[in-house]
Symmetry: C2
């Protein structure tokens, strides 16, 4: 079968309002119309969660009518990540089954719970499998909380790293914070990290406890939502005038050592 | 003056078709309507280039009528980055002048030549100055070639770094490539880099010459444009079946060592 008769894997961005309790912004505030149009015609989906994907498709349908009834759209869930397995290590059979519709010529959408799929979520392994199967992969533009937070931080956007979650245990966490600060100072590289929302305040406290007074610390909260805010200040400035963080919204933390 | 009577600094994403010779996609393929609506009402802009910003505003006007005639919109250019000056070091006077409209209560848009402002471009210093002046900073969602390339690569999206440009001189470049590969292996961190388009082929050749055979190398070219493609393969796979790169379109290179 030649490439032309195969389907493509579309990486469809989701909104950033997953779990938000405030007013949900209209889909067209955060997704381009062209992306909504593509989402409306895809017959197959791979998702972290089928239920929230159906809710997303209902929002799509309110802007651009779905090409087929929602009940007829095929939605499959990604395998749960297993501890100790590298995020992109291939497990051929699982991924082949998910990609089978594309091998037969139908397009597939990959979507995550928030933002761009395959960034800070388990979808990257499916994209990797698609490349191994020589399928066309098309990333569609949309919101990324990491990049919006980086832009809003005013910290170095010419060199930056996303390091995911920090250790939860206090001593390990403190050591990791000091390691990231040293790395940031040496490379002049902004370091970005995230936390489970109910631990936002605990991570902020740990950062303020372990970082040097002149290191700049940025926090972006609830981006694209009502009440969103971004604050960048020195650690000394944060300590002098604290800002509370919500326990139910995602926050992106960024730091740049002077 | 209290915060409520001040304007905000909006970070307005641009399209990714800067300099493209192929068909330019409609604005609504890449920018959310809500973002276009905000862009249409902003009276002040700070930009890398006033001429291309006027061209952008004409495209905005074709979707949502500008709130005032284009000739009356105030567009100022960012100071050129000076060699040897850190990208985010503040030069208070220059930035204060650019932010003056917001101190008087008017909103300002910051835009770059492509993608999100303040990411891989000189705008971050203005954002930093806005935080120092306690102005509200609002990052609006749109396309980022770096994050689209990362998503399309299928490489590790849970830990990644953007390192900008590599050295041009051959020996330094080779050393830097091997350093990034070692870092990627140690941290299991995807490393992303960019190049001036006419040197795309030269960078690809250098990566293939210096990386190990099992390292995965991803290339994303012309994302959001006609003819866009993303390829991920091992270095051995690239060598066995080379893909030519265009000399006139931006390419994002990503690598992950096994």
């Amino acid at each position: 079968m030649n490439a032309a008769s195969r389907g493509s894997l579309y990486l469809v961005p989701n909104t950033l309002d997953f779990g938000a309790k405030s007013a949900i912004p209209p889909l067209q505030n955060v997704l381009p119309l062209g992306v909504i149009e593509i989402a409306a015609r895809l017959p197959h989906w791979v998702a972290e969660n089928a239920k929230t994907t159906r809710a997303f498709l209902k929002r799509v349908d309110a802007v651009v009518a779905l090409a087929q009834p929602l009940q007829q759209i095929d939605i499959r869930e990604l395998p749960r990540p297993q501890k100790g397995r590298a995020p992109t290590s291939p497990v051929a059979d699982e991924w082949s089954a998910l990609l089978a519709p594309a091998l037969r010529g139908a397009d597939i959408g990959l979507i995550s719970e928030a933002g761009l799929p395959a960034v800070a979520d388990p979808g990257a392994a499916l994209v990797d499998a698609a490349h191994r199967a020589r399928l066309r992969v098309v990333a569609l533009p949309g919101p990324s909380s990491l990049l919006l937070a980086l832009a809003a931080s005013g910290l170095n956007g010419q060199s930056f790293a996303f390091v995911g979650y920090l250790p939860v245990e206090a001593a390990e966490r403190g050591a990791r914070i000091r390691e990231l600060e040293a790395l940031s100072r040496r490379e002049q590289q902004t370091q970005l990290m995230i936390e489970t929302p109910y631990r936002n305040e605990a991570l902020l406290a740990a950062l303020l406890a372990h970082l040097g007074a002149t290191t700049r610390l940025a926090v972006s909260c609830g981006l694209t939502l009502d009440g969103a805010f971004s604050r960048t200040d020195t650690v000394a400035g944060w300590k002098a005038a604290p800002t509370g963080l919500p326990a139910d919204l995602p926050v992106v933390f960024s730091l740049l050592a002077a």
